[in-house]
Amino acid sequence: MRTRSYLAYRFLSIIPVLLVLSFVIFGIIEAIPGDPAQIMLGQHATPEALEQMRHSLGLDRPWTVRYVLFLGRLARGDLGHSILSGRSVLSEIAEKVPATLELSLVALLLAGVLGVLAGFLSAWRQNSLFDYFAMFGSLVGVSIPIYWLGFMLIILFSLNLGWLPTGGRLAATIEFQPLTNFYLLDALLSGNREVLADAIRHLVMPAFCLATVPMAIIARMTRSSMLEVLNQDYIRTARAKGVRTGRLLFLHAFKNASIPVVTVIGLQFGYLMGGAILTETVFSWPGIGRWLLDGILGRDFPVIAGGTLFVAAAFIMVNLLVDLLYLFLDPRIRY
């Protein structure tokens, strides 16, 4: 019962967070100069045309009025229409999220599996050659500029070896009608092996690129958390009573060490959802990060507001999920 009311509390607390956030976003948008009417009309803009455009976009109203209208629409689940494309922000999000989600999930899987593995082994064989290598690798991982790494990968695997495509989600010439916009899923559903193979080929480099930073962070977190647990009394006791190493490491140590690791993975996923703008740009990935960036550059206020709120909501939801996962990982935790 208490858990349930905690859940309700957590869900409800999302509302004030988003409210404050929307206010801050509107404030920032208001503070930055730049006029979407001008950006749209370009060099055709005459003062009258600009005035007309501002009026039809509702930009001639005070921002407080626009904010209240925005909230009113938001309450009805409407994020408004993009100034630039004229399409509903919600449908644009729905179109771009699958691309970002597909990339983020694959990257996170890569980062999670390899990161945990590296951290786990490093802790187990602390101060071994592997440990040094892995920790040095993770240092490189967090510090390497994605832009540079992306192009190095493209030069190596696309230009020199010719193994992988330079960017995009599918080869331009492949004819394919996506159903859910998750191309891997769509390819599996339609049983189209050519598309599946091509989609995987397009995913490899961006996913690896995107995975480097989370992978490094996860590896470091796993290692330190494991070391802490391995030094505790109950581990020594378990060892003393003859528990096998595998069982000891996985069941006794890793499960208890995993809470901070899960937290970090959740946080990283939140960041990835926010759009990996650099990776999406280098690899021409049509995801939410690039869409938001275009919105910001074009001063497309509904896109900026709607997109940011969506990302924030996703971030909060992931955090909530992580907190709930604790319940399963550590039975002592009760909310």
Partner: protein, 516 residues
């Protein structure tokens, strides 16, 4: 580095498993920096949307390939009365839209009136676009199925040229009625050589040849315009053979290309209808003094600026008009680079020791100023030699333009690209009194008279005389320093034939073919 080993295994598996998709030679793939925003031609101003619409839609008239003339397209001929107020267009017969419905006077009226008349059932949400180009249009009427008359409120010489613009593209009324404006925007129907096959947002637009096209059938069955935002990434895609051509060529791209020595890639380059300039705010001291502005014109080594920053992508601009455009005054004299003269002029103006000022450079590359920061740095150095201490500054692009339009700058770099081929595009907006694009905030009654009259005069010879005089006026008063006309450029695979670079930097792909 377990990660790398595992990755290698994964990679090799993937490679073994996959059969790379073979690019069919009947498809032409073109890479560019951004995706189209909308495909309803009445609502667009960005180049990406216009270039996509160019494949799908047609206008009554079009620019010739060299940009010097206006040619028939959906209209076979046109005439105007003595006062140049009434224009009659005779429409091509036997033309059909992609949905099979016929092209006729009703379609022309529908396409134009939905922009002009706010009470039209399919009126565009925003009449600002139309009014910014066609506010002189008073009435559009159908004479018969194959004849349309347009009445202007005052003589307006650029009118015919503007009729070749995207706002004057003709769309299928039936499709609009069937799909509604939002639906049409995603599934546009025109009379062009290609019809829209698929539009994957932010990724690619796919066109396929329209079998019922009235003109010469397109040589390539499918055209794909792919958006690859990063310039370097786009070049990589071209080098890897994933795309057949690309635009958005910056000096960086040329540098990489030279280092790579890619023999299978060719570059097309032609003077474009654009100009990059440094505007001086003539309402602020000391730029209110023509002597100071003249001094600056003589202080800057323009040849060197172009040599060092354009990588062969531009030519020096003597004035606003590119030499390829009619009306260009070839007798215009370039301000010679002469620091001593500049100092003398400054002393005459009362600034023997120079002054301090601020110079804004554009944060984005444009054809006319592909590396503005570098240009600004050279100019800064040249100015310092005559005692003018200029501080460099910039803002993000949206902010930059807005601040410049409010004349907050002292000196700033900007430019102009013509989207209709007429000297008016260069001479009116950027220099006439009170225009928000008059970044020099210059007002000169004599100049205003010349360009206003040129706007009202239809006869080309008389217009040329007026523009030639106006150009001399600008040179004398130096409200801005014109830097260069940038070249329009594309990179193409050697195998691509029939691609032509239009002076407007717009693309039409129906003559492109790929030879193996």
């Amino acid at each position: 580095m377990k990660a790398v080993r595992v990755l290698c295994v994964v990679l090799s598996l993937a490679v073994v498993l996959c059969v790379p998709a073979l690019a069919a030679q009947s498809t032409f793939v073109f890479g560019r920096g951004a995706d189209a925003v909308r495909l309803d031609p009445a609502t667009i101003t960005d180049n990406e949307s216009i270039n996509s619409c160019n494949q799908i839609f047609e206008t009554l008239v079009r620019f010739s390939k060299d940009g010097k003339d206006i040619e028939p397209l959906l209209a076979t001929s046109w005439e105007y009365d003595e006062s140049a107020l009434t224009w009659i267009f005779h429409l091509r017969e036997g033309v059909v839209f992609h949905d099979g419905t016929p092209f006729n006077a009703d379609a022309v009226l529908f396409s134009l009136m939905r922009q002009k008349d706010p009470s039209h059932p399919f009126a565009v949400a925003n009449a600002a676009f139309w009014n910014s180009s066609f506010k002189q249009v008073q009435e559009i009427s159908k004479i018969d199925d194959a004849t349309v008359a347009v009445k202007l409120s005052e003589p307006y010489a650029p009118f015919l040229s503007l009729m070749a613009n995207n706002l004057a593209m003709i769309l299928s009324p039936e499709a609009m009625k069937r799909l509604g404006a939002d639906g049409f925007n995603l599934a546009p129907v025109g009379t062009g050589p290609y019809r829209l096959e698929e539009w994957r947002k932010n990724d690619q637009v796919v066109f396929s040849a329209f079998d019922g096209y009235w003109g010469k059938k397109p040589l390539t069955k499918r055209v794909i315009i792919r958006s690859i935002p990063d310039n370097t990434a786009r070049l990589m895609a071209l080098l890897a053979g994933e795309i057949d051509g690309m635009d958005g060529i910056t000096p960086d791209v040329i540098k990489i290309l030279k280092e790579k020595k890619a023999g299978s890639i060719k570059m097309l380059s032609a003077p474009g209808l654009n100009v990059g300039f440094m505007a001086m705010n003539t309402k602020k001291k000391p730029f209110d003094n023509p002597l100071v502005r003249k001094a600056i014109a003589h202080a800057i080594d323009k040849e060197r600026v172009i040599r060092e920053t354009y990588q062969g992508m531009g030519s020096p601009a003597k004035g606003m008009l590119p030499p390829t455009l009619w009306g260009y005054n070839s007798s215009l004299e370039e301000d010679v680079y002469d620091p001593a003269l500049a100092k003398k002029l400054l002393a005459e103006a009362g600034y023997p020791d120079g002054f301090e000022t601020e110079l804004w450079y554009m944060p984005v590359p444009r054809i006319y100023l592909p590396d503005c920061k570098l240009v600004a740095q050279i100019v800064q150095g040249d100015l310092a030699k005559v005692g003018i201490r200029a501080k460099l500054a910039t803002y993000d692009w949206g902010t930059y333009v807005e601040k410049a339009m409010r004349w907050e700058h002292e000196m700033c770099f900007l430019g102009r690209t013509a989207d209709y081929i007429d000297p008016d595009a260069f001479m009116h907006g950027p220099l006439v009194s009170g225009s928000i694009f008059n970044f020099s905030n210059w007002s000169d009654k004599e100049y205003d008279r010349l360009v206003d009259e040129a706007r009202r005069t239809v006869d080309r010879e008389s217009r040329i005389a007026l523009y030639e005089e106006a150009q001399i006026r600008v040179k004398e008063q130096a409200p801005l320093l014109t830097v260069a006309h940038g070249n329009n450029m594309v990179l193409l695979k050697e195998s691509v034939k029939g691609f032509y670079l239009h002076p407007t930097a717009q693309f039409w792909f129906h003559e492109v073919s790929i030879q193996e």
